[in-house]
């Protein structure tokens, strides 16, 4: 028995879910189109005889079965960026366009920030917010290595980000990270319902702030790498219900090539809005990835 057992009733194929936790994940990387074309990069890796396979669902994602992928010349020169497979989903849902103004509210270490920048072809502006000075250095270093030229970094508490209207806002929230168990055992052991509830207050504050900062009709994407409904559906519901965020509706999350499970419509004694099924839960045994949650909100 451990903390995960409380998810027994919501996770499909429970035994397979438990079994996969002890299988480590293969490294994954994203091709950085700000610096190199996909074909040239694949040719370079093939030339070196490296074991790399593009994802089925995203042509710029690669499974990279090598030791220390962070020390490849291609990584050091910023041609690729080591990034979790499902961490590439939220920017795709955000769908930033060249020339727009985007806010990444919890940006460090910048994997999604730089993916957004690449999708915008370095045009427009990405504000990458990260309150922790210690974490800003990783964010800056990744932006510079990857040649992201349209990113400016701020250090506000995301709940009180002062001003600005954005076309799209990403809230990749601090979370209990239960979905990262395959990266390093022990994450689950630290989990508890109380920890999730402590994080929930912060997460709701961040998502409400994001909705406040988005233009009407603009997009907010909320993501975590955890299973806890307290940090996922309950957060989305609370932020949508808050008067000051002036509402919004969920748009269905569908990524061709990946298998999503719908967001929950109820958890314990709480009933969520029926549109919560449009959010997506990713379980590690279904796509052979980590665990993830993502919701796409269109602001009213």
């Amino acid at each position: 028995m451990d903390f995960l057992d409380r998810y027994r009733e919501i996770v499909p194929d429970w035994e397979a879910f438990r079994a996969v936790q002890s299988r480590p994940l293969i490294s994954t990387a994203r091709i950085n189109t700000l610096k190199i074309g996909r074909d040239v990069l694949l040719e370079r890796l093939a030339e070196q005889g490296l074991d790399c396979r593009p994802f089925q669902w995203y042509p710029l994602g690669l499974k990279l079965d090598v030791d220390s992928p962070g020390k490849l010349l291609e990584t050091l020169l910023g041609f690729i960026h080591i990034q979790e497979e499902l961490s590439m989903v939220p920017p795709l849902l955000l769908d930033p366009q060249p020339g727009e103004r985007i806010l990444d509210l919890c940006a460090s270490p910048g994997s999604k920030t730089t993916q957004i920048s690449a999708m915008m072809e370095n045009r427009g502006l990405v504000i990458a917010n990260e309150p922790s000075l210690a974490r800003v250095s990783a964010l800056r270093s990744n932006c510079e290595r990857l040649g992201a030229m349209n990113v400016a970094i701020t250090r506000y508490d995301g709940r009180n980000f002062p001003r600005g209207l954005f076309h799209r806002v990403l809230v990749d929230a601090p979370c209990s990270a239960e979905g990262r168990e395959r990266r390093g055992a022990g994450v689950i052991a630290r989990g508890s319902c109380q920890r999730s509830l402590d994080l929930q207050a912060l997460q709701i504050g961040l998502l409400k702030s994001a909705l406040r900062l988005t233009v009407p009709g603009g997009v907010v994407v909320y993501s975590t790498c955890t299973y806890s409904p307290e940090e996922n559906e309950m957060v989305v519901q609370a932020a949508l219900d808050a008067v000051e965020s002036s509402g919004g509706h969920l748009e269905k999350v569908k990524t061709p090539g990946l298998r999503e499970c719908p967001g929950l419509e109820e958890w314990k004694a709480t009933i969520f809005s029926p549109q919560m099924r449009f959010a997506a839960r990713y379980y590690p045994h279904i796509n052979d990835t980590g665990g993830f949650f993502v919701a796409k909100i269109v602001k009213s």
Binding site: E47, L73, I127, M149, N150, P162
Partner: protein, 163 residues
Amino acid sequence: MSPRSSRARNVFEPLEREAVAEIWNSRFAIPESVFSGYNFFRKARSIWAISDSQLPGLSYEAIGMRIMNCKDRPWKPTTCALQVFGPYAEKNTMHLQAASARLFMEGKTQEVDAVTAEQCESGYVVVFYRGDVLGCGLYSHGKLVSQIPKERRLPGKEGEDIS
């Protein structure tokens, strides 16, 4: 820490694009048009570049990329900036072969022959390998000192090809 207390340190002053382009042009013969899509700022002794767009009134920790350091003379370009602007350089460029490129990426100092250093005056140079910019090197009297930041270096392995 609140943004208010960091504001005092973060004074980014706008710079004229032409002034920055002229400095780069004089050392590396990079056409001024290469810089046309960017805005430039100075903070303390560093110069920063960001894609051209309207910046909202916020307190910034970083504005785009730090492209050069004016603390010492001569001014020093950052490796990441050379990877963006260096491909357009027409002088003070150096093209390395596999073994010397590896040493360079390990952060080592090495001797370079006259043919390799043909286009180079003493000072900072753009170092290439197979058409890609590796980064910034300091060249003088037949020696090339790698300026690759520590966290971007290859781990040292003797006699191995980097391709």
